[in-house]
C-alpha cells in the first residue's frame, strides 16, 4: 500500500519544499543560546579564585577572617563581584538567549548569601567542616557556569 506510507515520494517532495521555503525565509543560522562572552568567562574565573581564597582562609582556625566582623567586608566585596557577573550576563541576554546563565548566577548568589548568613549566626566562625562542604558546592557551581560559557564557543578552539 504505497499510498498509505508516511512519506511517499510526492509527500517527501512537499515536505522538503516546505523546509526549503522555511529556510529561505529565515536565511540565517539558528541560535538557541547566546554567544560566548570572553569578558564574562574571565570575570567568573576571577570571582571563583577570590571566593575560593576566602573560603580556604575560613577553614584555618587561626585566621582573622573567622570573626564575622572581619569577614563582613569580604562577603560584601564578593557579592558585589557576583552582582557584576549578573549585570554582564544580562547585557548579553538579547532574545533571552542568556537566561540560563543569569539563573545560574542567581543560584550562586543565593548560596554565597547562605554561607554569609550562617557565618553571621556564629560570629566566631562556622565549623570548618561546614565551610569545606559549602566550598564544594560553590566550586561545582563555578565549574558549571564556566563549562556552559566555554561550550558557547561552539567548536572553536578551547582556551
Amino acid at each position: 500500500m504505497a499510498g498509505s506510507r508516511f512519506l511517499s515520494l510526492p509527500r517527501a517532495q512537499a515536505f522538503i519544499a516546505c523546509l526549503l521555503l522555511g529556510f529561505a525565509l529565515i536565511g540565517c543560522e539558528a541560535r538557541f543560546i547566546s554567544d560566548y562572552d570572553e569578558i564574562f568567562d574571565k570575570a567568573v574565573t576571577d570571582t571563583q579564585k577570590k571566593t575560593d581564597g576566602f573560603l580556604l582562609k575560613l577553614q584555618d582556625d587561626r585566621a582573622r577572617e573567622r570573626k564575622y566582623a572581619v569577614a563582613k567586608p569580604i562577603y560584601e566585596d564578593i557579592l558585589n563581584d557576583i552582582h557584576s557577573l549578573k549585570v554582564r550576563a544580562q547585557a548579553n541576554n538579547a532574545q533571552s538567549l542568556n537566561q540560563k546563565t543569569i539563573d545560574q548566577i542567581n543560584f550562586l548568589e543565593a548560596n554565597f548569601q547562605k554561607i554569609q548568613a550562617q557565618h553571621e549566626k556564629t560570629p566566631n566562625g562556622p565549623s570548618v567542616a561546614f565551610v569545606r562542604d559549602a566550598e564544594d558546592s560553590v566550586d561545582i557551581q563555578f565549574e558549571s557556569i564556566l563549562k556552559l560559557e566555554i561550550a558557547k564557543k561552539r567548536g572553536s578552539p578551547k582556551t
Binding site: 517527501a12 539563573d103 543560584f107 562542604d133 557551581q141
Partner: protein, 110 residues
C-alpha cells in the same frame, strides 16, 4: 539547472543531523556524569559530618539547601548544552538544504 533528489536529500539531512548530535553528546554525557557524581559525594559528606558532630543541625540544613541550588546550576548547564546540540543539528540540516538548493539553482541563492 540540476534538480533536487528528495530521497538523497532526506538521507543527507538525517546523516548531518545525527553527526551533529553525535559530536556534542560525549561532552554532555561526561559533564553530567562527573558533576552529578560530585554532588552525590558531597551529599554523603554532609551526612558523615552530621553523624560525626563536625557540623551542627543548622549547618546541615543550610548545606542541604545549598545542594539544591547547586544541582539546579548543574542542570542548567546540561540544559544549555542540550540547546547547543539542537542548534548544531538544525544548522547542519540547514547547511545540507542550502547546499542542495544552491547546487540545483546553479548559484548561491541562499
Amino acid at each position: 539547472m540540476s534538480t533536487i533528489d528528495p530521497k538523497a536529500l532526506l538521507s543527507q539531512i538525517g546523516k548531518a543531523g545525527l553527526a551533529a548530535v553525535g559530536a556534542q553528546w560525549p561532552a554532555m554525557r561526561d559533564f553530567a556524569s562527573e558533576e552529578l557524581s560530585k554532588i552525590a559525594e558531597t551529599a554523603l559528606q554532609i551526612e558523615l559530618d552530621k553523624k560525626n558532630g563536625a557540623i551542627t543541625e543548622d549547618e546541615a540544613k543550610t548545606l542541604v539547601e545549598m545542594k539544591e541550588n547547586t544541582l539546579r546550576t548543574v542542570w542548567l548547564t546540561i540544559d544549555g548544552m542540550t540547546d547547543l546540540t539542537e542548534e548544531a543539528a538544525v544548522n547542519a540540516v540547514m547547511g545540507v538544504v542550502k547546499s542542495a538548493i544552491n547546487t540545483a539553482t546553479g548559484f548561491a541563492l541562499l
